[in-house]
Point group: none
């Protein structure tokens, strides 16, 4: 019944106001498991307990009821972008995961090293995963290719090893399109394909398909006598999304403090600065937060372990990860932010050993918050919190409101 | 994410059914403050307490999560109008506030009396607020102008004093447009401007700009030797919105019972009748409610004090205002309405001394209500109420439903 307010926010966001620390405990939410408790319920969290009483609590739906999101959509929603309209394609997510942030004139594709042979001028696929070669051999193949193939026409080509037989290939140049099909025929005994044109036929798409076809033959030419793999099968050609910057959208100068490449990459795509860390642990993250606190308005603080342990089905491990985060809360509070918000990007219940669709606890601590006065920071207690059950895309406006960064709407 | 039902209501609203009394306690919502209580929690409210058990309770979001609304958008939402698509412009709100309800062929602008001098045929601004003249002098200047300037060409002109140097100017006539810029240069030492054309250039806009320019020179001609102010700087030209009447939308003959001009004006814009009151207190309002109870289907009963005290940061005063309203509830119930709904248009926590974005308590008392059976009428208890957390635009359909005024949808 209500019209889309998102455009209206542009008119009421102030360019000043308090500092916001936004903590994302990856995969935070759980469901009851050991002894009927969730990980948050089982954890000993004196600091979260205290904050829970002084904060407004609630639950958020990352994307939509029943939908289990990947890290891309869930983070876009947390940062106030419609996760259905703004898609970071799978190839881009794969690139981000290995530390590459593609530029706007770059296309990336996921690939497999494959065993292949020539058959009447075509390349036939014998083993789609090249016998699952080791990551070491993969790295070696990539460095051979990187040496021999630097350009196809005026397009710059790069090869990045992933794990085992998996590889990431980047094409960088003007006038390329990612609306082309895969070269991977998905079946052994078939030929590597020239990419199909997806949708309307355009010059850009045909040119990109030409480049990819030439690249494929060039790879085969270089590797044809290699003992492990002779070609690369490509799929999921992707460009970075054309997405409004976080700073433009919310008038916040933002710093991402994350140890994992994928989250650093998502932040870069949104135009956030990404903190250099002196280690891969939470203490390094706290140091980065302290050292940069004066320079930014908004801090995206990402903690990965909660998700990793949840995905492993490791209940005790996830409990410990929560307790580890709890212990550093006093250091965060010592910075005296205007707003401290703590939530997850989605649920990863140990009981399910993976991402899930369950709502995620959130709490907002601020002098403008409705201090709930009771309950812990758990899935169950957050249900009764003053924020209610909200969509994740509503979180950014709430954070701005709690930081005193929104003008009154209308007279 | 649900499809827009609003157009469908037209088909299922009955033209008969029970009477609805809709009480709007302005700025009702609060956040914990003194001793960790909100104003509603601190107030002694035996009548609200009783109703809370016999009613369906909930919380509403006036416009959108995180958005602090002005009185215009929040009231439009309460009356079931999308507050983003239907905007009452600032100039109109100012006019309503001093008791003028502009007609559809009328344009109003906010103005300042200013000290000015002639400079080569142009009017130079020396003091944008004319030394903040008293309201008395303002009234005097307005009566001089009202006497000397009644028409510019075929456009009727009126001058209304506001406070200190502030004035409201109305232009009434056919073919005027409010899409023109300000005459106020916003800077001393600069010249009063001819209004710019905003958007596409049209005959109506150019003509309105001509009238405004002529008016400005005429004002200067009348006041040029006055000792306090010599001209008026105009800004925010506004027309009343083109908005469907409340009666057409909801098939309810409605009476507004409000003491403050702004709320009486909003009701007039929606085509409601506005009760004549024999005083400015709540007893006069109750008398008007009783005297008109047979004649209408819907009563908008507005109580201002809760907001005024909240905006003053006066916790005890807001508590007392709530208690004052509580005391008259038996008189309202004695009329035996089909539905009595009590809510606020937005929150005005004393702790923040102003409007805020926090959800607002609502309760609906009716034989069709899910009687919650527990809790008081407070922000915290309303969270657990059977209405849940809803957008304000959902309230009108709920009131109709509770009054038995909606047909079943579909077979």
């Amino acid at each position: 019944m209500l019209s889309d307010f998102s455009k209206t926010f542009g008119d009421i966001i102030k360019s000043d106001g308090g500092k916001i620390i936004f903590v994302v405990l990856d995969g935070l939410g759980g469901i009851p498991y050991y002894g009927g408790k969730t990980e948050l319920e089982a954890a000993k969290t004196p600091n979260l307990d205290r904050l829970a009483k002084e904060s407004a609590k609630g639950l958020h739906i990352p994307v939509e009821f029943g939908v289990t999101p990947g890290s891309g959509p869930s983070h876009l929603a947390l940062f106030g972008y419609d996760p259905v309209k703004n898609i970071i394609k799978r190839g881009i997510m794969e690139a981000l995961g290995i530390g590459i942030t593609p530029s706007t004139d770059e296309i990336v594709a996921r690939g497999n090293f494959a065993k292949c042979s020539e058959d009447d001028g075509k390349i036939k696929v014998l083993d789609r995963r090249a016998g699952r070669i080791s990551t070491e051999i993969n790295k070696n193949l990539c460095s051979i290719l990187s040496e021999k193939i630097k350009m196809i026409e005026d397009v710059e080509v790069k090869f990045y090893p992933v794990k085992e037989h998996r590889v990431c290939v980047s094409l960088k140049g003007k006038g390329l399109s990612d609306e082309i099909g895969d070269t991977d025929p998905q079946k052994e005994g078939e030929y590597i394909r020239r990419p199909q044109i997806l949708g309307e036929d355009t010059y850009e798409k045909r040119r990109t398909a030409d480049i990819v076809e030439k690249l494929t033959f060039k790879i085969f030419e270089v590797l044809r006598s290699n003992e492990y793999a002779q070609c690369i099968l490509l799929r999921g050609f992707s460009k970075s999304p054309d997405i409004e910057s976080f700073e433009k959208r919310w008038k916040l100068k933002a710093l991402a403090i994350a140890t994992y490449p994928m989250y650093r990459g998502i932040a870069k795509i949104l135009g956030m600065d990404v903190a250099e860390l002196d280690g891969e642990n939470i203490d390094s993250q706290i140091r980065a937060l302290k050292n940069n606190f004066e320079k930014y308005d908004f801090f995206y603080f990402h903690f990965k372990k909660t998700d990793s342990r949840g995905e492993d089905g490791d209940f005790e491990g996830k409990v410990k990860a929560i307790e580890e985060f709890d212990s550093i809360i006093p250091e965060i509070l010592s910075l005296n932010p205007e707003v401290l918000a703590i939530t997850g990007d989605h649920s990863s219940p140990s009981a399910l050993a993976g991402h899930s669709f369950h709502p995620v606890p959130i709490m907002i601590w601020s002098k403008r918050a409705f201090k709930d006065g009771s309950g812990r920071f758990t899935e169950r207690d957050c249900r009764y919190g003053s924020l209610g059950l909200i969509y994740a895309v509503h979180i950014m406006p709430l954070l701005l409101a709690h930081a005193g960064r929104l003008e009154k709407f209308g007279a």
